[in-house]
């Protein structure tokens, strides 16, 4: 048995990107790709529909897995996930085909055999759709360190008692029900009140970094996200999990968090295994001092509602507002406070009285004063939007210009904002960067 084994389902991810449809194995394969790139001795214990078995074994073998064990069969469902927004600017729009018909037949003996091998040091379990209690019961019989990513798990907390000891790591993300609904998006509350005991409780905060609560020393450490021009966000969290476990073997938790964050950033920038391996090999050349010093984005979830973002746009009823909606939705998804002045203060038309016009103009300016960052959406050359851009620039506020259809024709609008982009993912990235400077100067 290899030193680390990744346990869970294998799916087929179908990503709808601007570059066309991308199809690749997902589920626990994301963690496997990270371990392969890191040169770790790993194996997989997979659950999948039987039609995927040969592809899984073949691809796992080519990645360097020293064991590929089929521990369960998915029935009734092809395990295909359509990903509408791979970049996770907003909800990723996962569509799990035939999810309601999904069922798993777990091979208990195969699961038991995994945990009978004394060579197994680490087990990363990505639960969801299978009997976690059975898995933990078997794991309790050996000394393996057990790490769980709870993102898609719906098991009750009591399930984890079957391990008979603490987890070594519990991974949670800010998009998970466990964090948002159970603990109201409050990391401190989760650390104090979580009924799943673990030595390390890791909260992955998307573009805003990662925090880790170490129960032994009762301290919280954090690491930044190293934002890049990402191609996708699918499986990046699982990649982080695997990298963190790998680095934790020989490095302190702070270093492990940061190196894992670098590896995850590389994974998000690549759809090509060879390129990813090259990038990881160069990360491994960095010294601990380099990685500890390197700046990125640390923006805790709880701090983000304090960032008010003014969306300057021709936000009128007669205009197709879908791009403006997308910006608002993205910012809200990441827990910022977006504001649409036309929606908040009202739309003016030819019949609006002079008094109401003055009040609306004053309200818009007041809102602009209150907001710290401006995202301008230039669907066309709207004078009002340009006035708002100029006003914000004169106040030295960051202006991020999103021009989905066409480059703005105005010279000042082209050259003076912090960034002019056609990609909403770049808008989100820049908001995170600017928000950190504003909230934590």
């Amino acid at each position: 048995m290899p030193k680390i084994i990744v346990v869970g389902q294998v799916c087929v991810d179908v990503l709808f990107t601007g570059r066309g449809k991308q199809v690749r194995l997902g589920g626990i394969f994301h963690a496997c790709r990270a371990l392969a790139a890191l040169g770790a001795e790993f194996g997989i214990a997979f659950i999948a529909p039987s039609y995927l078995n040969s592809a899984i074994i073949s691809q796992a073998g080519d990645l360097g897995a020293t064991a590929s064990i089929n521990i369960g069969v998915v029935d009734g469902c092809p395990n295909v996930i359509l990903v509408g927004d791979p970049s996770e600017c907003s909800h990723q729009g996962y569509e799990y085909l035939l999810e309601k018909s999904h069922s798993v037949r777990l091979d208990a003996r195969a699961v038991e055999l995994i945990f009978e091998d004394g060579n197994l040091k680490d087990t990363l379990i990505i639960p969801g759709g299978f009997d976690l209690e059975l898995m933990l019961n078997f794991a309790s019989r050996c000394e393996t360190r057990v790490h769980v990513d709870i993102n898609f798990d719906t098991s009750p907390d009591s399930t984890y008692q079957h391990l008979g000891r603490e987890l070594d790591t519990l991974f949670v993300s800010t998009s998970s029900h466990y964090f948002v609904n159970r603990f109201g998006g409050d990391f401190s509350a989760m650390c104090k009140c979580s009924n799943i005991p673990s030595k390390a409780l890791v909260l992955k905060e998307n573009r805003g970094g990662v925090r880790c609560y170490l129960s032994g020393s009762d301290e919280i450490i954090s690491a930044p996200t190293f934002l890049r021009d990402t191609l996708h966000s699918v499986g990046v969290g699982d990649c982080f999990d695997a990298a963190f476990i790998h680095f934790s073997e020989e490095r302190a938790s702070m270093q492990a968090l940061r190196f894992a964050s670098l590896i995850a950033a590389d994974y998000a920038c690549s759809e090509n295994t060879e390129i990813f391996h090259q990038s990881v090999s160069r990360c491994l050349l960095l010294s601990n001092e380099d990685v500890i010093a390197m700046q990125g984005v640390c923006l805790p979830w709880e701090s983000r509602p304090n960032l008010n973002v003014y969306i300057a746009a021709p936000d009128f009823a007669a205009v197709d507002q879908s791009e403006i909606d997308a910006v608002e939705s993205s910012l809200a998804y990441h827990n910022f406070s977006p504001h649409r002045p036309v929606k908040e203060n009202g739309e003016i038309d030819a019949n609006t009285s002079l008094d109401d016009r003055c009040k609306a103009a004053a309200a818009d300016m007041s809102l602009l004063d209150r907001c710290q960052i401006i995202v301008a959406v230039t669907l066309y050359d709207d004078p009002g939007t340009y006035i708002e851009i100029g006003y914000a620039l004169s106040q030295m506020k960051p202006v991020i210009l999103y021009s989905p259809n066409r480059r703005p024709s105005n010279l000042l609008a082209q050259e003076l904002p912090t960034i002019v982009t056609t990609e909403i993912s770049e808008v989100v990235n820049e908001v995170f960067i600017a928000a950190q400077r504003v909230l934590f100067p």
């Binding site: 179908v14 991308q22 690749r24 080519d62 090509n272 390129i275 090259q278 160069r282 960095l286 010093a293």
Partner: protein, 131 residues
């Protein structure tokens, strides 16, 4: 009907294959390049006012000035400096942090200032070539 683009896993090319391959799947994401080989185009430097050059001259380097990336981090940032006097002129945006790994693998980055101005906000835009 012939399918297009999703005939194979896009990131995997079987070592031996007896079937015809279609579309992107056969190429394994061939449109990607090694990031260390990419020219850094139109990078707008940050924190210009904190740079050694600005503090010394109260100005920004002229267009055409030869610059290079420093091999060590400065305050956790990747600094760009003049080739002649090794004075920093600003930081690369953090999205270029990967350059540090490229430099540790033996790459160096040199180039020129392609746009600059002191008003209304100091601005330096550079182009850097890996070598």
């Amino acid at each position: 009907m012939e399918s297009s683009t999703t005939g194979n896993f896009h990131d995997y090319k079987p070592k031996e294959s007896s079937f015809r391959q279609h579309g992107v799947g056969a190429e394994g994401g061939g449109r990607e390049s090694d990031q260390c080989e990419l020219t850094i185009e139109n990078a707008r430097l940050e924190e210009i006012e904190l740079s050694e050059y600005f503090k010394a001259t109260f100005g920004v380097p002229e267009v055409g000035m030869k610059i290079q990336v420093r091999s060590t981090l400065e305050g956790g940032r990747i600094s760009v400096e003049t080739q002649t006097e090794n004075k920093s002129v600003g930081f690369l945006p953090t999205k270029f942090n990967y350059v540090l790994g490229c430099m540790r693998a033996g790459k160096s980055y040199r180039g020129t200032v392609i746009a600059s101005g002191a008003m209304p906000i100091p601005r330096v835009v550079v182009q850097l070539f890996p070598s």
